[in-house]
């Protein structure tokens, strides 16, 4: 009997130790399928701007980190259910998401754009180079009207649960046929196959795909920012985790000041996407 008690006790003790060791580590969730933000190399290792930035931020916080992979459509639920402690997955800070989780200050920002296959009737739309939807000026409103006419009855493909889907659902460009996919890779595949008349995502996601696949994917229309597209990409953190939130905010401050964010961003995006 005594041996049993001892065994049980030591098992419990070791569990406690393991539990504590885990509690010390910050688990960061990322998708691993949204290059150049985050993706995987041939060996299956997570790489990308956010993976490298995560290691840098952890160094500034003086904490150990592990990076966890999670499908995009379950990202926020997984954070809430404590599968990990922070999201760094190219997730834009939007009012809708802020109802469910907190965000650190933004660390990077880049614009969204429509993409079509070369030779599409949607190529070369007469719109300004970029529009901001936070307080749309007359140019932006005009551009939305042009898009509404051009996209009427067309199929536009987006990744599910993204700012791009929110924008199309918002009705700012009228009634388009929105088709949603689990990953950006699948959006790209169906854009190339011709099932989508156009696709909407981060502009770099398309240029990255065009470069790697050699497919004639071209950007069209204005680039989008603000409004439904949110205010930059930040670290998603559970609402009750205020300590971690301020730790991340401080680390981002330091990394920005030392030029780490712009250095890593330039490396992965080809331009300085930091903010």
């Amino acid at each position: 009997m005594n041996i049993f008690k001892k065994t049980i006790f030591s098992v419990l003790l070791s569990l406690l130790v393991i539990g504590n060791a885990n509690a010390d580590k910050i688990r960061i969730g990322t998708e691993g399928a949204y290059p150049p933000w985050n993706s995987k190399n041939e060996a299956g290792k997570l790489i990308g701007f956010e993976v490298e930035l995560a290691w840098s931020l952890c160094r500034y916080m003086g904490k150990q980190c592990t990076i966890v992979e999670q499908d995009w459509d379950g990202m926020i639920p997984a954070l809430i259910m404590r599968k990990f402690d922070a999201i760094m997955a190219g997730m834009s800070i939007t009012a809708e998401r802020q109802k469910a989780i907190s965000f650190s200050q933004g660390y990077a920002d880049e614009v969204a754009s429509l993409a079509v296959m070369k030779g599409s009737s949607l190529e070369g739309l007469a719109t300004p180079a970029g529009i901001n939807l936070t307080k749309p000026n007359s140019d932006a409103k005009k551009a939305l009207k042009t898009l509404t006419t051009a996209l009427a009855g067309k199929t536009v493909c987006v990744q599910t649960a993204t700012i791009h889907q929110n924008f199309l659902d918002s009705g700012d460009v009228g009634k388009v046929n929105v088709r949603t996919y689990k990953t950006q890779d699948e959006v790209n595949l169906d854009l190339a196959s011709g099932r989508c008349d156009a696709a909407l995502a981060a502009a770099v996601a398309f240029s990255d795909y065009a470069e790697k696949s050699g497919k004639p994917v071209v950007l069209t229309g204005p680039t989008f920012s603000g409004g439904a597209f949110g205010n930059g990409v930040g670290v998603g953190i559970r609402k009750d985790d205020t300590e971690l939130l301020s730790a991340f905010n401080k680390a981002i401050d330091k990394a920005r000041k030392n030029g780490d964010i712009s250095r890593i961003a330039t490396k992965w995006f080809g331009f300085d996407a930091s903010m």
Binding site: P77, I80, R97, A100, Q165, R179, K182, E186, D190, G194
Partner: protein, 224 residues
């Protein structure tokens, strides 16, 4: 638990169930024809016809349905030549791709179910028909097929239920079926438990209906 969300999402999910039922019924009807055809081919004495039917059912029963639907939807979509043919009119639509994949899959299983049902028919029954001077064709249509259908009812009922759950994979090729709409609601509310519980409840209810219908038919056509 967010009860309000569950109540609010119920009508949306019920609407999406229509898509699920359409997918299910279309694939089952096409699949039953494929299954019957291939079951007959399996019983053919010609080795080539026999093997052809065997390989078909082997491939479609030996690979995951998700892989099949991905190959038909994303895979075939990448073949440039195919896109310039008439086939593309059908394959362009995720709806038809899903039905093709489901029908081929359930067809493979159905062919096995029907084949084994045919083989369990006692030779005495067929001999009895022959001794009464009934032509072979009539024996096949009026005696063998009805008995085979009766024999295969329990197994086929299982197949219907499996297929009904299998239709949830339609959401992976952008279709807004019950699972697709559930995922859509979750993408804006970030509350998977509530929405999936309601969706799961609807699936369970459909299983209940199918199960009991099959049970009723089994009783009705019981000749013991």
């Amino acid at each position: 638990m967010d009860l309000e969300l569950m109540i609010n999402s119920f009508p949306k999910l019920l609407n999406a169930t229509v898509v699920t039922l359409k997918l299910l019924s279309a694939s089952l009807i096409i699949g039953l024809f494929i299954g019957l055809l291939f079951a007959i081919l399996r019983l053919n004495k010609n080795v080539f016809i026999n093997k052809f039917a065997y390989v078909y059912s082997y491939i479609f029963r030996g690979t995951p349905l998700l892989v099949q639907i991905f190959i038909i939807y994303f895979g075939l979509g990448q073949i440039e030549y195919l896109r310039s043919t008439v086939l593309w009119v059908v394959l362009k639509e995720p709806y038809w791709c899903a039905i093709i994949a489901f029908a081929l899959n359930t067809g493979a299983y159905t062919s096995e179910i029907l084949r084994s049902a045919f083989q369990t028919i006692k030779p005495g029954i067929i001999e009895a028909g022959k001794s009464l001077g009934i032509p072979n064709k009539i024996i096949f249509y009026k005696i063998q097929i009805p008995i085979a259908i009766r024999q295969s009812l329990p197994a086929y009922g299982n197949e219907i239920i499996l297929m009904m759950k299998g239709t949830s994979l339609a959401s992976t090729v952008t279709l807004m079926d019950l699972t697709g709409v559930a995922k859509y609601i979750i993408s804006t509310t970030f509350k998977p438990v509530e929405v999936f519980v309601v969706a799961g409840g609807i699936y369970l209810f459909m299983t209940f209906i199918i199960h009991n219908t099959i049970k009723f038919l089994e009783k009705k056509y019981n000749y013991n």
